[in-house]
Point group: C2
Amino acid sequence: MTTTLAPPAKPWSPAEFEARLRAVGQDRYHDRHPFNLRMHQGDLTPDEVRCWITNRFHYQRHIPVKDALILAKLDSSRLRRMWLRRIEDHDGRDEGEGGIERWLRLGEAAGLDRRTLLSGESVLPGVRLAVEGYVNFCRLRSPLEAVAASLTELTAPDLMRLRIEAFERHYPWIAADGLGYFRTRVDQGRRDSAEALDLVLRWARSREEQESAVAALSFKCEVLWALLDAVQQHAVRQRTVPQRAGHDGPRERV
Amino acid sequence: MTTTLAPPAKPWSPAEFEARLRAVGQDRYHDRHPFNLRMHQGDLTPDEVRCWITNRFHYQRHIPVKDALILAKLDSSRLRRMWLRRIEDHDGRDEGEGGIERWLRLGEAAGLDRRTLLSGESVLPGVRLAVEGYVNFCRLRSPLEAVAASLTELTAPDLMRLRIEAFERHYPWIAADGLGYFRTRVDQGRRDSAEALDLVLRWARSREEQESAVAALSFKCEVLWALLDAVQQHAVRQRTVPQRAGHDGPRERV
């Protein structure tokens, strides 16, 4: 049992708090991951691009799930209306619209079958675990932490712009209209991150709450990093290990 | 340990399954609750009507929360789009719209202050427990059970029509435009229950699943019944126990 307690640390000013959140994005966002660097430098083989699309799709299709779990934590119609739009962005207002559909079209433009993508059968175990970890974080943590974890959107729009350029230059075998997802996310990401940053700055009053928000954003960066680690490891394995049909290490089917 | 197992029971036919679900609504829906009968017979005092509005509002404001938890369990954009509309029905597409707003206007038409309703301070402990029980049911149970619990909507539209007539006849001191919530729910409830019934009939294939759906709907009827029990008990207490200012039994503030 602690008998003497240090006085609680003073909260950071809003400016310092925001700077610390942005610093997490700058230091730990997955744009620095070796696999992403290779992707943007044009060094991926078509199979590696397809492996990334397949595995990232597993993340994409869970975005509305984690957003619905965040929605359930919001205690006013005004806040829920704001957050609900994110679910619409990914699921679409009508059939054939939305970010998940656009991702499926990216897959098709890269030569992947929509049914294979939807079956989830080629998703790597590490990717499943990373996505499940993120969904459960949004399920179990405070509204502040769940919303703060979404602040990778502060850094995402710049990455999307670079990615569109990189894909147009290095992977011209993917038809340009397959890149619709990235184009849409530039503006959506800016709006989403501005809204979420505003909530996080207002909700986190104590130093403890501010630190929990920074930790949540770090965690989210780790999720995205772990996803690329799994894809990268798979790529290395494909090159170095003699292939046996139908076997590619343990594979979890959920 | 069981050493001999009975063979699994044969699933009910779709028609029998649907009939069993509808029977739960007919037998156990809260339209038969003594408090509801008194309400529709015009026997409630203005204070009793206001107490019911205040406590039922606690239920109403949690509908989008339980629907967001159900949304998070649905695994396709098509299903989520369908269910998301329920959240919009209650939260509104824009400020000043939606079922929660309409319920607040019912409260105002009955002389209740919007801020008091939103504060939740007059909500009875039994009502809090019933609502929390329902939200947690939707959080923790299978998609089938969570959707089946919503099937009280099979019976709700008829109740809404009776309620509009009863309020117009017996409680003319409540302005007619305060009844907008009930009017809107006649059509919304019909559409919602048709959609949910279709899902439940398709999802529940084994007898065990069918029985879990029937049990979920029974549970939901118990939630609504318990809510009225708490309101009824409070009304009895108000009449029989000498009133002490500021004390009305234990009150939980969440």
